[in-house]
Each structure stands twice: as C-alpha cells, then as structure tokens.
C-alpha cells in the first residue's frame, strides 16, 4: 500500500490526476498529458493489439486468443442484434469500440498501481454524450421531424401533451447522465471499498499478535471483493453496451 506518506491510508489517492508532460495550454485550455490520458492511450493500444494480434493468423480451428476475440465479437453482435435488429448492425463498429474500451479500461484498473480511467466521471460522461449524440443526430437524419414523435406519445389527451412531453424530454436527457454515473460510481465505489479493506489489514497487523489474528477477516473480504470487482468490471461494460444498443434502437425506429 502506498499510504506511508500520510499518517493514514488514503483511499482517494489513487484517483488523483497528475501531469506527466510539461503543461500544454492551447487557447486557455489545459491539454497537458496526464496519467489519465496515458491510461486511455494504454487502453486503446491494448485493445487494438489484442484484436490485431489474435486475428492476424486466422485458423479454421481458432487458438485461445482468436477464440477470445471471436467470442467478444459474437457477444457484442448478439447483444446489438437482439435489441436493435439487423438494421442496428451498421452501428456495430461504434458499439464494439465502446465495449472494448470500457471493458479493457475496467480490467486495467484492476491491476495494482494502475489508474482506472472509467472512475473519472468526465470520461464516462464523454462516452455517454457520444452515444446520445449519435442517437439524436442519426434519429433526426433518418426520420426528420418525425423523430420528435418519441416525445409525444399518441393516445394522450391534447391538454396533458405539454406536460407529458416535458417529462419525456427530461427522461431522454437523463439517459446520458444515468449511463455515465452508473459506470463511474460502480468503479469508484468498488476501488475505494477494496482500498479501505486492504488498509484495515495493514493497520491491524501493526497491533501485534491479536491484530494479526483479527486481520484475517478483512484479508478474506479483500480477496472476495477483488473477485467481485472483476465481475463488476465485466458487468458494467456489458450494461453500458446493452443500454447503448437500446438507445440506438430508439433512433432506428422511434415509430413504425
């Protein structure tokens, strides 16, 4: 644990953003290369290298790496086809990239001393805005003003239509927020919990034999939570993908 500099173990320290390069300022905005940027680049490189290397020697009988790459393809394709239909497959590059990015970033975050990119709300919010922007632009591009029908349900008395469509608009706008908050909060809470329980082990072992004996419980919990975090890392990438597919389905057929 890297908590010796302070008097207590600091569970928030792992989320601190630090500059790696010398500060780069363009037009009053800070574009410095930080540890977050570094791990985003690492995520993209790892995902790309994995897919390229595992598929460059394609065998009829897939090897282990090729099988994993094919499984991830099949998995995302099945999810997308299931919720958005065959028409939705035109968004496959976007959805697959999103899934791989979130999944690899979550998994990289499980390494000790690594920075978890998805525990920063601005990163997840940018991803969610990308999704909802695609939905809105494609919806208007394909259906024109008919896309607005999404907000005006038929069969509602004309008197309540303004109220209902106001609520529908807010409900639509809340999607990127909930999409990003869910991923960010899961990763943040998981990593803090892990650090706190691991910190208990370190603190208790400082209290002699009785402390070491009572440190067994948090140690067991830390191992269990680590396993749970691997599950959460996958599950959140999956949930992000499923919801992206559902929103894309809205853009494809707001009414038909």
């Amino acid at each position: 644990m890297a908590g010796n500099s302070g008097n207590a173990i600091d569970p928030i320290h792992q989320f601190q953003i630090t500059n790696i390069s010398s500060p780069i300022v363009i037009g009053g905005f800070d574009f410095s290369f930080t540890n977050a940027s570094l791990f985003m680049v690492v995520t993209v490189v790892v995902a790309t290298l994995f897919l390229v290397l595992s598929t460059n020697r394609r065998g009829l009988v897939p090897g282990r790496a090729q099988l994993m790459a094919e499984m991830s393809y099949e998995f995302v394709a099945a999810t997308l086809r299931g919720s958005a239909g065959n028409e939705g497959m035109r968004f496959f590059p976007l959805v697959f990239s999103l899934f791989m990015f979130v999944f690899v970033a979550n998994m990289l975050g499980m390494f000790p001393y690594f920075f978890t990119v998805t525990s920063q709300i601005i990163v997840t919010f940018a991803l969610a805005i990308l999704v909802i922007g695609t939905v809105t632009i494609y919806g208007f591009f394909k259906h024109g003003a008919g896309f607005l029908k999404l907000f005006v349900p038929s069969g509602v008395p004309a008197l309540v239509v303004p109220l209902v469509s106001a609520i529908e608009v807010i409900s639509f706008l809340s999607r990127p927020v909930s999409l990003s908050v869910r991923l960010f909060a899961n990763m943040l809470a998981g990593h803090i919990t892990l650090k706190v329980f691991a910190g208990f082990v370190v603190m208790l072992t400082g209290f002699g034999a009785a402390g070491i004996a009572s440190a067994i419980l948090p140690l067991v919990l830390t191992v269990a939570i680590t396993a749970l975090e691997f599950l959460v890392a996958f599950l959140q990438a999956y949930v992000f993908t499923v919801l992206t597919c559902m929103y894309l389905a809205d853009a494809l057929h707001p009414s038909h």
């Binding site: 999404l150 069969g155 807010i170 809340s174 908050v181 869910r182 707001p254």
Partner: protein, 124 residues
C-alpha cells in the same frame, strides 16, 4: 395360471395401456400450455434480470439522474430568463416525475415510448 386367466389379464393390460396413453396425452397438453404460459410470463424481465444488484444500481441511478437533470435545466433556464425561483421549482418537479417514469419503465410497469406508440397506432 390357467390360459383363461392369462387372456383376461392381457385384455386388462390393453385396457390400462389405452387408459395410460390417454392420460399421457392429456398431461402432455397441459404441460405444454403451462410451459407456454411460464415462458410468456418470463419473457419481458429476462433481459433486465441479470442480477438484483445491477438492477438496483440501474433504477437508483435512473431516478437520481432525472431529478438532477430537471434541477439543472431549471437552474439554467432561471439564469437565462431571470425567473429566479420558479423555473427550478417547476422543472425539479417535472424531473421528479421523469425519474418515477424512468424507474417504472425500468421495472416494466410502463411501456417504453416506442412500444406505446406501436399500441397507439394499432388503435387508430
């Protein structure tokens, strides 16, 4: 065992065989209908029921996000138009409504906008 008795028991066997096959058919039919009903009931929430934890996360974040967005919209409208408390009060309440709608939609109690429009089309 006399041959007469044997014959009788054979006939009895035939009788019970027919009876059994009839019962089997009837049972099979009821089983089919039961299974159909069960699968029809399970269909809508199989997609969302990945695990209770993820569903809880989903619902709470949907609700909080809608209230948050409503409040933020109201605050922005107020600072642009200058209707200090009213925009935020009204939009926060609308956001609350949208949050309830999100949660109910998530739980499958209210149809999504797409599905509801379809049913509306059918009535036309």
């Amino acid at each position: 065992m006399s041959p007469d008795e044997n014959k009788q028991s054979k006939e009895g066997m035939k009788e019970t065989d027919r009876h059994l096959s009839e019962r089997l058919e009837k049972l099979g039919k009821t089983l089919d209908t039961r299974l159909d009903e069960a699968s029809a009931e399970e269909e809508p929430d199989r997609t969302s029921a990945m695990s209770g934890l993820s569903q809880a996360w989903k619902m709470s974040s949907e609700f909080i996000a809608a209230v948050f967005v409503g409040g933020a919209l109201g605050w922005m409208a107020d600072s642009w138009i200058g209707t200090r408390p009213w925009g935020m009060i009204i939009l926060l309440m609308l956001g609350f409504g949208a949050g309830i709608l999100n949660v109910l939609r998530e739980a499958g109690k209210v149809a999504g906008p797409e599905r509801r429009m379809n049913s509306g089309k059918k009535q036309d």
